[in-house]
């Protein structure tokens, strides 16, 4: 009987406090646990009793990396309750803001968090000494994303300019002009990023995942669409709760998600891309092929290339909309509270993000439910690590640990977002 234990007590280059525990007995993987000990956040509880109009600003505080995603799912759910429809220009600007977040998040992850794994560096700082121009370009790309979020979101971190019904203020054409110039630079930088990511040495691992993502009739999904899966699921976004369930697992402060009756599934770039390849422009599809991707990607390590493809898409989409930008006469449509339940899914950089709110006829929030992408992926991350370790048992512990961390970073997990309500029972005698 021989037992090996691989422990990573503090995962680096992921957001939040998490650990990994792998137990191998007699050369078989016995258990893999992604332990999330980031403390519970109680956001759903603190939304209760607040005004419907506060939800986008409160939920934007959940995450410093993807606040726009939280704002978007929140306003869409509220607008569903209030029966509000945005006109095309306002809808486009929401998309621009979301593109800004995708550029920031994917730019950071591709180069600064994930690439060091592929190139054998401990961190992006170590990588900068040998790949200076690459790191400079990465920072400049990320900054373009920051600038979009700052201009349309009102500030870089935890933006405050999105409201139920539209925006509080729209920037002038003069404010947008320098951003258009920088996006033109970013387009070429993002094209180069796709090919560069395609040139990285790529570990082999193929997952048999059920991919889940939004799908829109014309667009690569971001703000809206039906929920579809690679195994035939096709439901409206507001049917999420009928088909998905959350389960509390003892080793994690995040809830695990599962498709009812089917089990683990995967959200995020791999799923979005594989279910929506035909929604990318022909030029981007061609570049993806040049970078070694087919229309469906099953190697999770190739997520770095897929993120680069999505980064390019976000740059082109923001550029397309902003080149034709003229501020609308009204930055928002008027809203009047009424009682109801609203549900919305949007595509955060890390995957589908579900919100549900119930408000009363005064507009006070009675209940809120938030299902972030990392908790949806947690079970698949554990399955992936188990599969990868099973294939590489001959590696020494240090090498195995390196690859396990790299496998986790394939999902760019945002642990603070995933940390959820923790049930507390006090027994008194």
């Amino acid at each position: 009987m021989k037992t090996r234990t691989i422990k990573v007590d503090q995962l680096a280059r992921v957001e939040g406090e998490g650990a990994l525990h792998v137990r191998i007995r007699n050369e078989r993987v016995e258990e893999v646990q992604l332990r999330i000990f980031e403390p519970p956040r109680f956001f759903e509880a603190l939304l209760r009793g607040r005004r419907f109009s506060e939800a986008p600003d409160i939920t934007a505080r959940i995450c410093g990396i993807c606040p726009v995603a939280y704002q978007m799912s929140a306003v869409h759910a509220m607008e569903q309750i209030l029966g509000v429809e945005l006109d095309a220009p306002l809808r486009d600007l929401r998309r621009v803001l979301y593109c800004g977040e995708w550029i920031e998040s994917h730019g950071l992850h591709v180069y600064m968090l994930h690439a060091p794994d592929f190139l054998g560096y401990e961190s992006a700082i170590h990588m900068a000494a040998d790949h200076g121009e690459t790191v400079r370009m990465a920072l400049a790309l990320k900054k373009v994303g920051n600038e979009i979020v700052a201009l349309f979101g009102g500030r870089e971190i935890h933006p405050i300019n999105v409201c139920v019904g539209g925006f509080y203020r729209l920037p002038s054409r003069a404010e947008v002009a320098p951003l258009v110039e920088r996006l033109r630079w970013a387009r070429q930088a993002a094209r180069d990023t796709v090919l560069w990511a395609g040139s990285l040495p790529m570990p082999e691992l193929h997952g048999d995942y059920e991919y889940v993502a939004l799908r829109h009739p014309h667009e690569y999904p971001m703000n809206e669409g039906r929920i579809v899966s690679s195994r035939g699921l096709d439901i409206a976004a507001d049917q999420f709760e009928e088909c998905f369930e959350e389960i509390h697992i003892p080793h994690s402060n995040a809830l695990h998600c599962a498709l009812k009756g089917r089990g683990a599934y995967l959200v995020g770039p791999l799923a979005r891309y594989s279910l929506n390849f035909d929604r990318l422009s022909p030029e981007i599809q061609d570049l993806a092929h040049q970078a070694g991707l087919g229309p469906v990607v099953t190697n999770p390590f190739q997520s770095i290339i897929v993120r680069a493809v999505e980064l390019l898409h976000a740059v082109e989409e923001a550029l397309r909309i902003l080149e034709a930008y003229t501020p609308s006469a009204a930055p928002r449509v008027p809203v009047t509270p009424r009682a109801g339940v609203g549900r919305a899914c949007t595509e955060a950089p890390r995957g589908m993000l579900f919100h549900r709110y119930q408000i009363d006829d005064e507009g006070t929030i009675e209940t809120a439910r938030i299902v972030p992408p990392t908790s949806q992926n947690q079970r698949t991350i554990e399955n992936d690590v188990a599969a990868f370790v099973a294939q590489h048992l001959s590696l020494p512990d240090a090498g195995l640990q390196w690859h396990c961390e790299q496998a986790i970073r394939n999902y760019d997990p945002c642990i603070s977002c995933a940390t959820h309500f923790l049930k507390l029972t006090v027994e008194r005698r």
């Binding site: 950071l108 700082i125 900068a128 000494a129 400049a140 990320k142 630079w185 070429q188 990023t193």
Partner: protein
């Protein structure tokens, strides 16, 4: 004159890869798009750029921003800027500047309100004291990335102000407010000692 050569973001200003080493994974060649990324116009040497770093929503973490606010009335226009501390912002902000003074909150275990002056050109910043998140590249990372890139300003001083509380929505603690005023005075003196102090940064690109 600035000793640092700006090697271009889009590289279009110099032509693809010209005059720079370019390895197989070096993006400098491919990125020679038709549109170079606009960058700050030529800085004037010697004028220190003062950067206040922090988050106004998080109690004492606003200290660096408050120092910047108070210095804006005392120093030349454009000589004082604020930042949320994102490494992408900082690395680009100071890459063409010879002399920089940064003010940021720190958590080093000292008595709240303690001010520590680090000369970063001489030694690395203690990363742990200025780290904020495992997923965020902040001041300490920005310094080390700039050092690796060879774009660290030749003179870079960081004033760290030890914080007491950085919870969301809390007011500044009194010791930290005292420290803010002490740092304002110290930075004003330090800037006044520099030749051509504060004369010139008005030509910098305005921040969005």
């Amino acid at each position: 004159m600035s000793g640092k050569q700006h090697s271009g973001w889009g590289m279009g200003d110099e032509g693809p890869g010209e005059g720079r080493p370019s390895g197989p994974r070096n993006l400098s060649e491919g990125a020679s798009g038709d549109q170079p990324l606009p960058h700050p116009s030529s800085p004037t040497p010697h004028a220190p750029l003062v950067i206040g770093v922090g988050n106004r929503l998080r109690g004492d973490d606003a200290a660096g921003l408050l120092v910047a606010d108070l210095l804006k009335g005392k120093l030349a226009e454009g000589a004082v800027v604020t930042s949320d501390g994102d490494a992408a912002d900082l690395v680009i902000l100071w890459e063409e500047v010879d002399s920089v003074i940064v003010i940021d909150a720190m958590v080093s275990g000292r008595v709240p309100g303690t001010v520590v002056r680090h000369d970063v050109a001489a030694e690395s910043l203690p990363v742990a004291a200025f780290a904020t998140s495992s997923h965020h590249f902040g001041l300490a990372e920005a310094l080390e990335i700039s050092r690796a890139l060879g774009t660290l300003p030749s003179r870079l001083v960081v004033y760290g102000i030890e914080v007491e509380a950085t919870s969301l929505g809390t007011p500044l603690s009194p010791q930290v407010v005292d420290a803010v005023h002490r740092v304002v005075d110290a930075v004003a003196v330090e800037v006044a000692r520099e030749p051509a102090a504060g004369s010139s940064l008005a030509s910098r690109r305005p921040r969005p």
